[in-house]
Amino acid sequence: MTRWYTPWLFLLPGLAVVVTFSLVPFVNMIVLAFTDATALGGGHFTGLANFQRMLDDPKFWVALRNSTLYLVGVVPPLVVLPLLIALLVRKKLPGITFFRTAFFTPVIASAVVVGLIWTWLLDSQGLVNNVLRALGWVSRPVPFLTDEWLLLVSAMLVTIWKGLGYYMIIYLAALGNVPADLHEAAQVDGAGPVRRFFAVTVPALRPTMVLVAALSAVNGFRVFSEIYLLSGGSGGPGGADTSLVMLIQQTGTGLTGNVGYASALSMVLFVVTLGLLLVTLRLNRREEAL
């Protein structure tokens, strides 16, 4: 006879890890969001004060705006470009492995290294500006890293560049599952490559595209390292490029960190991320129903 707790015993090791490193911190975050706790402990229950403060905090609105803009800026290119690259590199051409590897290299490079390389490239005296100046295209350096909007766009470009290879692999796997006979049938019916792409490939890949959109949206909304590194940890001039995760880091860390407020901000981040995933789930369900 199987005892009722036998399944729990099997679950125990995995459950212990999840409870210790995910569930406890998560519940802790919810508790702390309603307190004025500091990094060194202490703190009292303050009700909704942290959320009220958030509404009046211009930094929060700037961070929310930036994270949202980031999501809007990186998702469409990250859904479309890797698909096009996947279509190119799946062709059996001599030397194609080199290109596949080249596109994937940024994915395995450390975010810090990538950030530093791009900082050197885009600096006011960096390679890009020096080339532009040498060509006589600009007389003053382009403020890639010191203009509020250009910095955000530069960071988005780094995210897109770094993410291309990862999503390309997902698309490559999915492309392998598109039935070849559908393509052949379309070809027999006289469909050209463009027509076949929209009539066969895209419909077959739609669930994968939704998945890529979901993953890149969640990652885009939680952006930290790109902006942090390109702005030298400052969040841009006047902190105008701070993302929500950066704000949480700036608020909650250090010996004087305001853990209560940072937890409240984290709750907002969680709710938005969850919302994004629920939207994706719904889209996927609709796909299946169709």
């Binding site: 519940v27 010191t146 969040g235 006047g238 860390t253 305001n258």
Partner: protein, 424 residues
């Protein structure tokens, strides 16, 4: 069966919740008495492997002087030091003797986590330089919370080649803030903004050097938004508009600014005696053109950095911890340390050593002797209460002022308001 399962799940949930929430703060320390023996742990900030031999030597002589004691040395890398201290402090398990600079000691002392040395080691004060001992005092709270260990200060470094390129006399660097502004404007104009004088907007210590009062007498409010503070920011704004500051000055801190100077993209930077060695090895072409001059200050007193060791109230062996803290920072040990590292002793007798008073003709000795002389009346201008969040706020508001989004006065008012709020 159903009830058992429910009890099990409720128990799990309760256990989860029990691990969450609010932890308390420690009790404040008082007078300490007891025998010096038993084991203690000593945590340092990134001293391995360069100074392993020195630290192990100090530990060995302490153990020899106090038989029955064992000092366990833990060295933490600089990266993540704060996180480690924070985690230990939250858990109430800080090592018995811990290396913390004054700005880290402040939140710990405020939370009652550090032993008050004025009570626990009342006779120690006389062994240290007054300004170094004062660095571990907490404004608005009685007591001193760290034995000063080592000090650093330094000259201003400038790039003679870039001065020459801009038509400035490389043998006559700016010595006042007014001269700095004139030189920066000339340099930007003559080089068509290709070379900037400075790499960052003023840090809080620069306000001190300019003669701005940082805080009120009881340390409860910041006051750097005074007319003098506004004057300094307006001066930087003029330099920024003319191209006297690199564009990245709006976003980068001291480290970024130092890198720009090393890359010969800026012409002048404040530094420490340690930096000279770094230039020699990492930027030899800069080193060949390096100019060394006195710090630019309106107060006549240079800026000083302090490191010290504190004893947490959570220590189970305070008598030994206090004895070791004093031992590590005594005159002889500090002097020996200064000779292997580019630092300066905070003990009264240490500074009298010929090592700090006589030159041998080398650049290193020249910087060392000049820095040692200037340390006697240097000031740690950065208030101990000035946290990372406050630094961020100041930097962000200054960037807004440089960009013209806010007036200098408004930017400083906003920074002060935010810092006061963070001070609580």
């Amino acid at each position: 069966m159903r009830t058992t399962r429910r009890v099990f799940l409720i128990g799990l949930a309760a256990a989860t919740l029990a691990g969450c929430g609010l932890s308390g703060t420690n009790e404040q320390g008082g007078a300490v008495a007891g025998e010096v023996k038993g084991e203690i742990t000593f945590q340092t900030w990134a001293l391995k492997p360069k100074y392993t031999q020195y630290v192990e030597g100090v530990i060995a002589s302490f153990q020899q002087e106090h038989p029955g004691t064992t000092v366990k040395w833990i060295d933490q890398p600089a990266d993540g030091y704060l996180t480690k201290v924070l985690a230990d402090a939250s858990a109430g398990s800080l090592p018995d003797v811990i290396n913390v600079p004054p700005d880290l000691s402040f939140p710990l002392a405020k939370a009652g986590q550090l032993v008050n040395l004025d009570e626990a080691a009342a006779d120690a004060k006389k062994d240290y330089l007054d300004n170094a001992w004062a660095a571990y005092a907490i404004p608005g709270k009685a007591g001193t919370y760290g034995f000063p260990w080592y000090l650093n200060t330094g000259p201003v470094f400038y790039n003679k080649a870039l001065f020459q390129q801009a038509g400035l006399n490389p043998d006559s660097p700016p010595t006042t803030f007014a001269e700095l502004e004139t030189a920066a404007l000339t340099m930007a104009q003559k080089t068509d903004r290709k070379v900037a004088m400075l790499g960052q907007t003023p840090a809080i210590a620069d306000f001190g050097l300019y003669g701005v009062e940082m805080m009120n007498a009881d340390g409860t409010k910041f006051t750097f938004n005074s007319a003098k503070g506004v004057e300094l920011v307006e001066m930087y704004k003029r330099m920024y508009d003319a191209g006297g500051l690199v564009a990245e000055a709006l976003t980068q801190n001291y480290t970024g600014s130092g890198a720009k100077f090393m890359a010969q993209q800026t012409a002048l930077t404040p530094g420490s005696a340690y930096d000279l060695g770094k230039f020699k090895t990492d930027a030899p072409s800069l080193y060949a053109n390096i100019g060394i001059t006195k710090p630019i200050t309106n107060t006549g007193k240079a800026n000083m950095f302090v490191h010290g060791v504190s004893v947490p109230t959570s220590s189970k062996n305070k008598p030994t911890a206090l004895a070791f803290g004093r031992f590590v920072t005594n005159a002889a040990n500090q002097l020996a340390f200064s000779k292997v590292a580019t630092i300066f002793p905070s003990s009264r007798d240490g500074m009298k050593d010929p090592y700090f008073t006589t030159e041998d003709g080398s650049d290193e000795a020249r910087v060392r002797v000049a820095a040692a002389k200037q340390l006697g009346d240097s000031v740690n201008y950065t208030p101990v209460q000035f946290s990372q969040q406050m630094q961020d706020s100041l930097r962000q508001n200054l960037a807004d002022a440089m960009l013209g989004k806010k007036s200098a006065k408004q930017a400083l008012d906003d920074a002060v308001a935010e810092c006061d709020r963070l001070l609580g």
